[in-house]
């Protein structure tokens, strides 16, 4: 006979999540993507074509179009995704390397948004009064901010060497800051609303009746109850940020050439509309990544909140 055991909330959520096949597929894809990003140098080494290696011998320099030689954009065993027009850089290794930039920026931007949003939301909701009014208006200001215009302007103003950083790392930090810093009000509002409903709960009164300090109530009594919505929102914010990063790179605001990014590859591909394969691979990469995160996020929400079904 099976022993009857109490299950923790985490175990119950995990059980529900395991039953959700779509979410699990999303989860597996995410794990594979992350592994791919981390192991990119090794994988590319195995392929044998660094992302910025020119392969002029694969380009049709005679016809004047500078298209890759061979069918389907130069697809071959050596270059499974084909090569770029003009320079002949290997597309597969560029897509693999592009995942690093996309995921890195999306993860840290999300982390930044969630951290600021959680702290602001919990403080705003718990203390109420003028603190709440101030933070809520601040959220309104941030939401009304023309982020895209600001990002384009900032990218133009910031020199190649600033804040003790330069080149790619400067651009990456800048993108993380721009995307993360301006997105916090969304999670802030969610956390604020949850906090307001939680702070009236009796266990908060009970903790106060025993002499608990405010920081204890905020971080030990309230925060564990906020983990579920924060987690779900984070997994849904990551794909949004991936898209935003791609959009910025597409507009030329992101990490600069020759570093491979998905958005940048799309941008390069636009001028070669006669060679759709060039656009296909980075586009597919963005599509799959965003879809996987969204599927997993939805599944996670269903698993953590039984009432959402």
């Amino acid at each position: 006979m099976r022993k009857i055991e109490g299950r923790s909330l985490g175990q119950i959520a995990w059980m529900r999540l395991k039953r959700d096949k779509v979410a699990i597929v999303g989860f597996v894809v995410i794990v594979l993507l992350i592994l791919m990003a981390i192991l990119a140098p090794l994988i590319v080494k195995a392929i044998g074509h660094p992302p910025n290696e020119f392969n002029q011998d694969l380009i049709d320099t005679q016809g004047g179009t500078l298209a890759p030689l061979g069918r389907f954009g130069g697809m071959s065993w050596d270059h499974p995704f084909g090569v770029e027009p003009v320079n002949g850089r290997d597309l597969m290794s560029r897509v693999i390397y592009g995942s690093r930039i996309s995921l890195l920026i999306a993860f840290f931007a999300t982390l930044l948004s969630v951290t600021i949003g959680t702290v602001m939301g919990i403080v705003s909701g718990f203390f109420g009064g003028w603190v709440d009014a101030l933070i809520s208006r601040l959220m309104d200001v941030f939401l009304a901010f023309p982020l895209l215009v600001f990002a384009i302007a900032l990218a133009g103003v910031i020199p190649d060497d600033a804040f003790g950083l330069q080149g790619d790392s400067l651009r990456i930090v800048l993108l993380i800051f721009i995307i993360g810093f301006f997105n916090w009000p969304y999670i802030g509002r969610i956390v604020r609303g949850q906090t307001i409903s939680l702070r009236e709960r009796e266990f908060v009164d009970a903790a106060r009746s025993l002499g608990a300090r405010r920081p204890y109530i905020l971080f030990t009594e309230l925060l564990p109850n906020l983990v579920a919505p924060i987690l779900v929102y984070s997994t849904l914010l990551i794909p949004t940020n991936i898209l935003f990063e791609a959009a910025l790179s597409f507009l030329g605001v992101g990490v600069r050439a020759p570093t491979a990014t998905w958005g940048g590859m799309l941008s390069d591909a636009v001028t070669f509309y006669t060679m759709p394969h060039f656009m296909l691979w980075p586009g597919l990469a963005i599509f799959i990544t965003v879809l996987a995160f969204n599927l997993f996020g939805d599944g996670l929400r269903d698993a953590l909140d039984p009432r959402s079904r």
């Binding site: 266990f203 025993l210 608990a212």
Partner: protein, 342 residues
């Protein structure tokens, strides 16, 4: 009136909440005192200010919105004029509270033991191991079987009665001198109610603490209380020993409460006598005696009940009542009208 050296003294306590509709006078001029080892029962209908009284004493009324005045002297220290931090240091250590619904009053994410440990460690600089030993001791004391195992259980794994026992263990973990129990048995079934009331009484004897028990259940106060305060519309309308209230009640509202209480010694064929009408809005408290619109005897005083608020006056041996009826009238009504029906 009140002895000046009582352990808890409440003097002219007023807790008002400004709202868009007007000023809600939840507690409006309440005075009482309580000694160590004694139990005060506060009874009244919903919205009579019982719970707000206890929250005001504990300093747990909602932050900026409440206007609180008067004095709450705990062992001589005025809690109303003390800073929030000073009052926080007293909560748990000198005064603690038992809530109505132990399931919602315990944090669902932490084990029962963890919560008692945290409560103990707020006021005692001890290691987790020492605090855990103390938690197990407390659980044992409130009658939880296998406390060394149960200490690691979550609140939802406890039955309702066990949860309330654990809540009591938590409240008593720092040995407070004042224990406020806000409807401690309302969420429990009747057999468990009796056990919890016994437990509170036993622990009170053991710790020699002062206990305030807030309830709308006269059976509960009959069981536990030394003194009883009957509240109506934020004010005390009758105060006396349990014998005074049950054997010689003087206020028409108290008569109403007693008449609406089911009793095991009463014929089953008889109907309970409800108090007509509903409790008044605390924004628009009726002028004069707040109870006058619902009182059967308000017409006996040539309109005094409608215009003049009766003071809470001592009618002998600490039995106090706020009513315009003369002692003779009350005596007559009680003897002829009320007592035979109870």
């Amino acid at each position: 009136m009140t002895e000046p050296n009582s352990f808890l003294e409440v003097r002219d306590l007023r807790t008002h909440f400004p709202t868009d509709d007007g000023l809600v006078k939840s507690v409006d001029g309440l005075s009482f005192s309580l000694d160590r080892g004694k139990t005060l029962g506060i009874v009244g209908e919903s919205g009579s200010g019982k719970s707000v009284t206890s929250l005001s004493i504990m300093g747990l009324h909602k932050g900026g919105s409440a206007r609180i005045s008067g004095e709450v002297l705990l062992d001589g220290q005025d809690l109303v004029s003390s800073s929030a931090e000073e009052v926080r240091l007293l909560r748990g250590k000198r005064m603690a509270m038992i809530f109505q619904d132990p399931l919602s009053a315990m944090h669902p994410y932490y084990t029962v033991g963890h919560q008692i440990i945290e409560a103990y460690r707020v006021h005692n600089k001890v290691t987790k191991a020492v605090a855990k030993k103390h938690a197990i001791e407390m659980l044992d004391r409130v009658g939880i079987p296998q406390p060394d195992k149960r200490v690691d259980a979550y609140p939802h794994q406890f039955s309702g009665g066990m949860r309330q026992r654990a809540m009591i263990a938590m409240a008593l973990s720092c040995d407070p001198d004042l224990l406020i129990a806000d409807e401690p048995t309302t969420a429990l079934d009747v057999t468990v109610q009796a056990q919890i009331l016994d437990l509170i009484r036993d622990l009170q004897r053991e710790f020699n603490s002062a206990v305030i028990i807030i309830t709308h259940d006269l059976g509960v106060v009959a069981e536990l209380a030394d003194d009883i305060q009957v509240m109506y519309a934020g004010r005390a309308i009758e105060y006396g020993t349990a014998e005074d209230i049950f054997d010689r009640p003087q206020h028409p509202y108290t008569w109403g409460l007693l008449g609406s209480m089911p009793r095991i010694d009463r014929e089953r064929t008889e109907r309970l006598i409800p108090i007509k009408g509903t409790p008044p809005s605390l924004i628009n408290v009726p002028s004069g005696c707040a109870f006058n619109p619902r009182c059967n005897y308000a017409s006996l005083n040539e309109g005094a009940s409608e215009t003049e608020r009766p003071e809470l006056l001592d009618i002998g041996a600490g039995h106090k009542v706020a009513c315009h009826l003369s002692p003779g009238q009350r005596q007559k009504i009680w003897e002829t009208d009320i007592k035979p029906k109870l």
